[in-house]
Amino acid sequence: MPQGPVIETERLVLRPPQAADFERYAELLADEHACRFIGGSASRAAAWRKFLQMPGAWMVQGFAMFSVIDRATGLWLGQSGPWRPEGWPGNEVGWSFHPQAWGRGYATEAATAAIDWAFAELGWDHVIHCIDPENLPSQRVAQRLGSRNQGPGRLPEPFAGARIDIWGQSRAQWLARRAAVA
């Protein structure tokens, strides 16, 4: 298993992905509606190859998205965390969640912990979120995080041609906001 940090929030555990997370991930990728803004649905076989990228990126870079686990039940809820594959337009903290886990503020809670971690551990001075202009739920998460829409951007292959806006904020903005909330 990839070595990496374990972060606990009020309701969630964030840790690097494990093989047992795949079943729920494959459910998410089989749900056409739920993954229309994250590259589209995929068969189980294609989902497996995609799933492997995340633990692999942990090994290659020392960071990638975390699996987000429900502290109470142990259930895989989704993934959130730092993400910067080759050619990516910036240092992203992203999120994608199983449809059964929507609407409870999990994405905001997980991304907040992931952004804290990325600024503390990775030396980033800026964080972005690449969001489809029609993906209103994710835009609301970005707003709750205090990020702003910085305008249209471009993703590399295999997502070239995807319409996205780049949301984001600086480390200074994040730290100021966290201090004000605390």
């Binding site: 076989a45 497996w48 492997l52 990228q53 633990p55 590399p156 292959e157 295999p158």
Partner: protein, 182 residues
Amino acid sequence: MDLERLQLETPRLLLRVPRREDFEAWAAFVADEEATRHIGGVQPRPVAWRGLAAMLGCWHLQGHAMFSVIEKASGQWIGRVGPWQPEGWPGPEVGWSIVRSHWGRGYAPEAAAACMDWVFDVLGWEEVIHTIEPANERSKVVATKLGSRYLRMGQLPPPLDATAEIWGQTRDEWRAFRAARG
């Protein structure tokens, strides 16, 4: 298994788990139209990065995946060879692909033979297959050199969605073949 120390050695080659430092050679390899004609086609650099990450992720989640092949004399990365059985695959494969500049030197069968020993002795596999695109005559020569034979036609799962010849042999056949060659 300590993946950082895992290494197979042949007279001319070292086989080890892929690393970040392999990326430039890996990306150049998958950008080569001729070398990738029978293994899914060329990949742009950002997709190549995801492929390398997925290979590493596979090592860490499944405990096996293809090795990076290093030419001892030069220290160069010259390809990827080894076990490969992603979700939905038609069987436990030992596969190979070598950079074009190093074709014709017998490196593919040399590396694959070490991997055959490893999957049978260490992973406990009882059979091995090689999925080969029908037009890929070079790979059929390699399979023949390994003592494998054509078994049947098979289907590769998405994202490949292709028909392939399935070559292969059993563990007993491999051990008899190795013993006969001394």
